[in-house]
Symmetry: C2
Subunit: 307 residues, 2 copies
């Protein structure tokens, strides 16, 4: 079994109501890899970085079973850099700086050694690049999941819609689901979006949890009520990593197992937001993860006798 992950590897500068960091590793594919590597090896990483991407970060990923053959290193450019500031409610953030740097020339190439990968996670990048990755896979992965964002709905909708016909699972947040479908009701939005291609839709609602839609079925996963959300950066990608990690580990793509995968993703995301960037993810032991998943069981479990 293997999971191929495509997306950014970057550096971030983050300011939240609780603190500030000027230089911390980030990027969607980084978060996906940190989360998923707890469940499946190898992770076949596809990304691009500059000369400033620290060797120790590469080594840390390698140690966790992340294959970096598909990560292009550009010697004369800097890595993607983002600086942002979160507000108290953590749902809104201001982007202060976006330096694309090497990312302007990202043209993902799938190494031969990645062929045959059973699971594919397309992190949020230009839809045409996500499509290119799908097309490069000689054998279609058993499950293809993708993330995207409002920016591509505004600027590359045709490419996005073409890609949607090629994937199994779409993960977006509630406002993106509304924008993509033109429907305010998330139930109606889910129906419209699934007509566009993906049989499974996950709508992420941050502190309010996540919804999984498939056919006429829906599953609601809670978010763990936390003392503080210290830094939400990467939570969505960490969710994706936990979700795909569980699916790849169990090799079970049934709706029943996807429900569990959504809980695993939610558990991983609940760790991510506890410290800056992927700091907390780097510290995790398997026992921490098991205990957190048990907390999710307790969180939603109730006895019912219809009287």
């Amino acid at each position: 079994m293997s999971l191929t992950v495509v997306g950014s590897m970057a550096y971030d500068a983050i300011e939240t109501p609780f603190g500030k960091t000027d230089w911390i590793v980030g990027g969607a594919a980084t978060y996906v890899a940190y989360a998923a590597s707890n469940f499946v090896k190898p992770i076949n990483q596809v990304s691009i970085v500059g000369y400033d991407f620290a060797q120790e970060e590469m080594d840390e990923l390698t140690k966790r079973g992340v294959n970096l053959e598909g990560v292009e290193v550009v010697k004369d450019k800097k890595s993607f850099f983002w600086r942002g500031r979160y507000h108290m409610d953590m749902n809104s953030r201001d982007t202060l700086v976006t330096d694309l740097n090497v990312f302007t020339e990202f043209n993902p190439r799938i190494p031969d050694s990645y062929q045959g990968s059973e699971f594919l996670m397309l992190g949020n990048i230009l839809p045409s690049l996500q499509t290119s990755v799908v097309q490069q896979m000689k054998q279609r992965p058993r499950l293809i999941a993708m993330d995207t964002m409002n920016f591509w709905m505004d600027n590359a909708l045709d490419d996005l819609k073409k890609l949607l016909t090629m994937v199994d699972v779409l993960m977006v947040n509630d406002s993106e689901a509304r924008q993509l479908s033109g429907q305010f009701s998330l139930v109606k939005a889910a129906r419209e979006i699934r007509k566009m291609g993906p049989k499974y839709l996950i709508i992420k609602k941050g502190e309010h949890g996540a919804l999984l839609f498939h056919g006429d079925q829906v599953f609601v996963a809670p978010a763990l009520p936390l003392e503080d959300v210290f830094d939400p950066t990467g939570a969505g990608d960490t969710f994706a990593g936990g979700f795909m990690g569980h699916i790849a580990n169990t090799k079970d793509i049934s709706f029943e197992n996807m429900k569990t995968a959504v809980i695993v993703g939610s558990a991983m995301a609940s760790f991510c937001v506890e410290k800056f960037g992927p700091t907390r993810l780097k510290e995790l032991k398997r026992a921490d993860i098991d205990a957190r998943i048990r907390q999710f069981v307790d969180l939603v479990n109730f006895d019912i006798q219809l009287v």
Copy 2:
């Protein structure tokens, strides 16, 4: 077993993105009674109405086992009237008219026949009146629950804080929990509020479900994902009615059973929002309720094997 319910019985005029009604029965105690009467009889109602409150509404409540001895009828004044308009997201509403009418002279009196009631639901009214009801109960009910709102936090905070020391369960929405506690984090807000008195705190989050806090424990109930929220009027009171109805029916005030009660309340609220006012609640059969509760089981149920 019996449940005593204190609160408004009123008429509403409601405008939502889906339609408009100029005259429909409403009021917190009305919604509580409609929901709770599916689970427990009698409901001992305490309220005040004017000459315009329709006899057929009274008869309908009586038929459902609602005791109206504690409902004062004022012959020369009109009932409480509220006119409001909801926006697309249904979380915000504009109050266009509030005619207190008879409500200015509401001074709830507990009839002798209500004494010994085991369960008490204090709907959202002036905290000093809620306190008066508690003080009139010669034997303290086994469980006292209350609702309140931001208006009383702004205008009667001392009375509210005094009342909080006398009740077991407080039900508020997320913004009210934040205002009352001065904490943005709902986990921190819950801790602060429970220091004020109530051992149990329910935070209602509308379409995002509800949280139940007790000691170090927390339970998350989903809201049912609906095609449309047609009219949210009374949903919180219907939740309270389902919650207290289940508790009174089972006579079990453990945290475990309160989790189930939160699900029952959520199920009843999910019906309430489907039509104007209490229209949908009036139509319900027991089988509808059982089926809806089963939907909630399916909504959150997942298999987990820690691997």
